[in-house]
């Protein structure tokens, strides 16, 4: 079975601060990992994805994520957040031969101006 855990339901930071949103996964092999963002009254949009190779992947809007096989983690990071980054962020996992991606419960990010 595969699962994704986002331990923080809500994160609050000040504009200009650095950010890390945590994601832990459970899967027996190396999975395909994704981060999505959901702005108010919108669907989810892809931020970045990891398949293999360099464990640090770059995404849109200066977001990056680091894959760690030893820690079963795929944390999302940004060096300096903007108020417009306020949204809900979802970590997701897919595996070969499985049509059903597994999503975490999401982390609501609030950026204070």
């Amino acid at each position: 079975a595969q699962s994704v855990t986002q331990p923080d339901a809500r994160v609050t930071v000040s504009e200009g601060a650095s950010l890390q949103l945590r994601c832990k996964y459970s899967y027996s092999a190396t999975p395909y990992l994704f981060w999505y963002v959901q702005y108010p009254r919108q669907g989810l949009q892809l931020l970045l994805k990891y398949y293999s190779g360099d464990p640090v992947v770059q995404g849109v809007n200066s977001f990056e994520a680091e894959f760690s096989k030893s820690n079963s983690s795929f944390h999302l990071q940004k060096a300096s957040v903007h108020w417009s980054d306020s949204a809900v962020y979802f970590c997701a996992l897919s595996s070969g031969g499985n049509y059903k991606p597994t999503f975490g419960k999401g982390t609501s990010l609030v950026v204070h101006p």
């Binding site: 994704f34 669907g43 989810l44 994805k49 398949y51 979802f90 059903k100 999503f103 419960k105």
Partner: protein, 113 residues
């Protein structure tokens, strides 16, 4: 690029009523999904379809029916709306392989009075 269109955007129903949500995609994707989003519970898969006329139950299929009439459309029926139910239903589509992203519609917001 493509788009996923969900109708209606807002749906108000009465307890016990049968309600239908519709979804159209022009990506020419084989796989389509229906997710339910509740605050604090993330995304829960209701039904998915890997090709036209195919239907697969997700984790939350009880109380719902689905229909994939053609490749571009996927509808969801709430068979008996529950009083005070409030949720967002998200339709999504993908090529269907594990290493590709899932594209989402903006959602249908259901309120049952």
């Amino acid at each position: 690029g493509g788009i996923i269109t969900q109708t209606p955007k807002f749906l108000i129903g009465q307890e016990g009523q049968k309600l239908t949500l519709k979804c159209q995609q022009n990506f020419n994707h084989d796989t389509m999904y229906w997710y339910r989003q509740d605050s604090g519970k993330g995304l829960r898969l209701i039904y998915y379809s890997i090709t036209e006329n195919d239907l697969q139950k997700g984790d939350l299929s009880e109380g719902y029916d689905a229909s994939r009439e053609k490749k571009s459309s996927f509808s969801l029926t709430v068979t008996s709306a529950q009083k005070n139910e409030m949720a967002v239903f998200l339709c999504a589509s993908s090529i269907g392989t594990a290493n590709t992203e899932v594209f989402f519609g903006k959602g249908t917001r259901l309120t049952v009075v």
